[in-house]
């Protein structure tokens, strides 16, 4: 009797488990659309959403580009989902492409939405598109080879990324919106000729709003200071071009009479790739130093002009200023800041040939 009761009890438990699972709501992978790239624009109080969805066919992959508008991002996505045969799953969203005009208006709301969403990974890249989304995606559809990772490959670090491109993820933008002392740079792209997309520099984002732009060369410097410059190439004046093999930075900060001073020591280990004429090692080193200092000056001028701390130098004063003062960092302290950059170029090797 006890045995029967126990068996019945466990059977009942299993049945309840099956009833409670909700596993019939699970959709198999072939019934989901997995968009990789989402474009966002904002015109006349309406969001325009473009989704680039790779469609697996029996012979390869075709790209589907769908666009909808809505009062919110979710409404637009839902509209797209309703028109598709399979449901749209934003789980695999890797790139968020923002139209430049919208970036200039301010991305705070969208970024907050993405951070809140359980579907979208905070690791997705944020990229700015320097033209209308429609023309950009039209270009992608017509001239780029359709594969699963079209477009995404151009931005991804282990694929088509280059050290002169900024690499910023949603969580970093979100952090910059809420941080007193750190802003981000977002790469800017536009459609190029012959099936490529062109990188035109990086946008300076302050509190989620685009306030300026830096060139690719400056972005390389920016990346080097942030430790991302490896494999980047620098043209040295007229004499040579070098490849960065590794880079490291040391910072020393001090605050004297409310004026922040920062010494940055950038050590670059480089390899010589190309030379013109017969330059000496010393000449290359000196010119490299000169070029980088000049570029840094330009970069810093832009930072000061936009009052956006994309280098995150404010971080080095966090232990020197009280929190109440930190909130004025961008307005009061950053413009007065004195930065001294010291570049230590080390020529690690000269390639397969010796310099004469």
């Amino acid at each position: 009797m006890r045995r029967i009761r126990r068996t019945a009890g466990s059977l009942l438990c299993i049945c309840l488990l099956l009833l409670n699972t909700g596993c019939w709501d699970n959709r198999d992978i072939n019934h989901r659309s997995l968009p990789l790239v989402m474009g966002i624009a904002y015109h006349e109080n309406l969001y325009q959403i473009v989704l680039q969805i790779p469609e697996p066919l029996e012979s390869g992959i075709s790209l589907k580009i769908l666009t909808q508008t809505g009062k919110t991002i979710n409404q637009a996505v839902d509209k797209i989902s309703a028109r598709m045969e399979s449901s749209v799953d934003l789980l695999h969203l890797k790139v968020i492409l923002v139209e430049k005009e919208y970036a200039q208006l301010g991305l705070s709301d969208s970024i907050t939405t993405f951070m809140r969403s359980r579907e979208i990974s905070p690791k997705a890249l944020v990229v700015i598109c320097d033209e209308k989304l429609d023309t950009f995606f039209e270009h992608v559809k017509v001239s780029m080879a359709p594969k699963g990772t079209t477009l995404y490959d151009s931005f991804e670090k282990n694929a088509g990324w280059n050290p002169q491109m900024a690499l910023t993820r949603i969580w970093q933008v979100y952090r910059s919106i809420h941080s007193y002392t750190r802003d981000v740079a977002i790469p800017v792209y536009k459609s190029g000729k012959s099936g490529t997309i062109d990188y035109t520099g990086s946008a300076i984002i302050k509190n989620g709003r685009m306030v300026g732009q830096i060139t690719p060369e400056e972005t390389l410097l920016f990346n080097s200071v942030n430790g991302l410059g490896t494999q980047g190439k620098i043209e040295v004046m007229n004499n040579a071009s070098v490849l960065i093999l590794s880079n490291s930075t040391r910072h020393r900060s001090r605050l004297v009479h409310n004026i922040p001073y920062l010494d940055i020591e950038l050590t670059l280990k480089v390899s010589i790739v190309e030379t013109k004429g017969t330059p000496t090692t010393k000449l290359i080193k000196d010119e490299l130093q000169e070029v980088l200092l000049q570029r840094f000056e330009h970069l810093f001028d832009k930072i000061l002009a936009s009052k956006a701390d994309i280098l995150g130098v404010g971080q080095y004063f966090r232990n020197k200023l009280p929190r109440s003062e930190l909130s004025h960092w961008r307005t009061d302290y950053l413009p007065r800041m004195k930065v001294k950059l010291k570049v230590n170029p080390v020529i690690q090797n000269e390639g397969n040939l010796k310099l004469s």
Binding site: D28, N30, R32, P56, E58, I61, G148
Partner: protein, 445 residues
């Protein structure tokens, strides 16, 4: 009723039973036995040689009888019966109402010692246990020549008797364990034991509903000797060509004594492979279900798309698909055991066609699933012991179902469930998940 009439009543219906009147040194005797169990011609010759020698040396009947065997009074039917069934010759003396149980020339009813059939040996001793319990113990004694190997035999069963022998290594085995086993055998001596299930349940008192085998078994004398050295006890049952290892532990799935014939790194590599095999068997099918239907975000996008591509047009959800294919796979494995060796390849061929090509071409399952299934089956085969691999095969279904419900999280749940279950087992008070070593210091026997 007389002794003869009782014997006749019991055995005369059997045609292989013979009962003959004869003379032994001019004394009338009755000879009885089974000619299916003894070689009667040779036995008769032997007996004649004895008689001739006795006559030559002028031995008296009384002395001659003690030469032939122990003299028993005819009141003890049991001894006569047991002797008969063991293939002995009963010589009955009518005048004194007593009998002798005489050893005979037995028919060879046992196969010779052959290489193992169910287990493969990789660079180790090649002989295996046979049906004859005494040869088995003999093989074992050859393998492990020590005065500390103790053998205690029991006759079990009441209606049908059977020999059960406990072997242990004194000084290596835990005294408490041996005492417990001996106590269990003594207590349940009268039980009828025909198979290992009964041995485990009736004799050893294990629960019947366990997923993993309570009794580990091996047919390799080398492994058996290693088990003995590591403090396990062995049970031999007559007519069973394996040594039953007590207690059975999780570690036995991964470790083979003959691994130690290899250098240490190679041994560790092999054992690591088996651990990986176990994990893959458990996880792989569940992972497929979880990633395809519940958590596709875990996959890299390239992989996600190619999986979606292979699943294009497949009618069933992943769980139905995988359970269907796993079932076919189980059927193939079972069928290939069942079929005689000369038509066995048919199954391999037909199964290969189903699993390899047809089922994918018919768009019933995705071809990724075939890869998963093949990998699972291969991984499952790395496990030592057919019974253990069977229990793992069952455990993987639990994980598949949980994965279909809860996704990747369900796989973890399932693993926790399986390992919690394994940890809950403790045969003879020894945790199933423990590693048993030779008890050198404590509890000397």
């Amino acid at each position: 009723m007389g002794f003869i009439s009782r014997i006749k009543e019991q055995y005369a219906v059997s045609d292989d039973f013979f009962i003959l009147n004869d003379y032994l040194l001019e004394t009338p005797v009755i000879l009885m036995g089974f000619n299916s169990l003894m070689d009667w011609t040779l036995t008769k010759q032997n007996l004649q040689t004895y008689i001739n020698t006795a006559a030559d040396t002028g031995l008296g009947l009384e002395e001659f009888r003690t030469v032939l065997g122990q003299v028993e009074t005819a009141s003890g039917m049991d001894k006569a019966s047991a002797g008969l069934l063991q293939g002995k010759l009963i010589i009955y003396f009518e005048q004194e109402n007593s009998f002798i149980v005489m050893d005979t020339v037995a028919r060879t009813l046992d196969r010779s010692i052959t290489p193992p059939v169910n287990e493969n040996v990789f660079q180790g001793t090649l002989s295996s246990f046979t049906e004859d319990i005494n040869s088995n113990i003999g093989i074992l004694r050859k393998q492990i020549q020590s005065s500390h190997v103790n053998v205690s035999s029991y006759t079990i069963g009441s209606e049908e008797t059977r020999q059960l022998t406990l072997v242990y290594y004194e000084g290596h085995a835990d005294v408490n364990l041996i005492e417990k086993i001996k106590m269990q055998i003594e207590q349940n001596k009268h039980q009828q034991i025909d198979n290992l299930q009964q041995l485990s349940q009736r004799m050893m008192g294990f629960r019947n509903w366990t997923l993993v085998p309570n009794l580990n078994q091996t047919e390799l004398p080398e492994e058996a000797a290693n088990f003995l050295r590591n403090g396990r006890a062995l049970l031999f049952m007559d007519r069973l060509p394996v040594a039953v290892v007590l207690p059975s532990l999780l570690w036995d799935i991964f470790v083979l004594g003959s691994d130690r014939h290899m250098p240490l790194p190679l041994m560790m590599f092999l054992r690591a492979l088996r651990v990986i095999g176990v994990m893959l068997t458990l996880i792989l099918p569940g992972t497929y279900v979880a990633l395809v239907s519940v958590n596709p975000e875990v996959l890299r996008i390239e992989l996600a798309l190619s999986i979606a591509q292979t699943r294009e047009g497949i009618p069933y959800p992943a769980i139905v698909e995988i359970v269907l294919m796993l079932l076919i796979l189980e059927l193939i494995i079972e069928a290939s055991i069942r079929l005689p060796k000369n038509i066995g390849p048919t199954i391999t061929m037909v199964g290969g066609i189903i699993l390899g090509e047809a089922v994918v071409q018919a768009k019933l399952v995705s071809n990724l699933l075939i890869i998963i299934l093949a990998a699972t089956t291969i991984a499952n085969s790395t496990i030592i012991g057919l019974q253990q691999s069977l229990s793992l095969r069952i455990a993987k279904y639990i994980i598949v179902i949980l994965a279909a419900i809860y996704g990747v999280f369900g796989i973890m749940e399932g693993l926790v469930l399986v390992f919690a279950y394994l940890s809950s087992l403790h045969p003879f008070g020894i945790p199933y998940t423990s590693i048993m070593r030779c008890k050198k210091e404590v509890n000397h026997g």
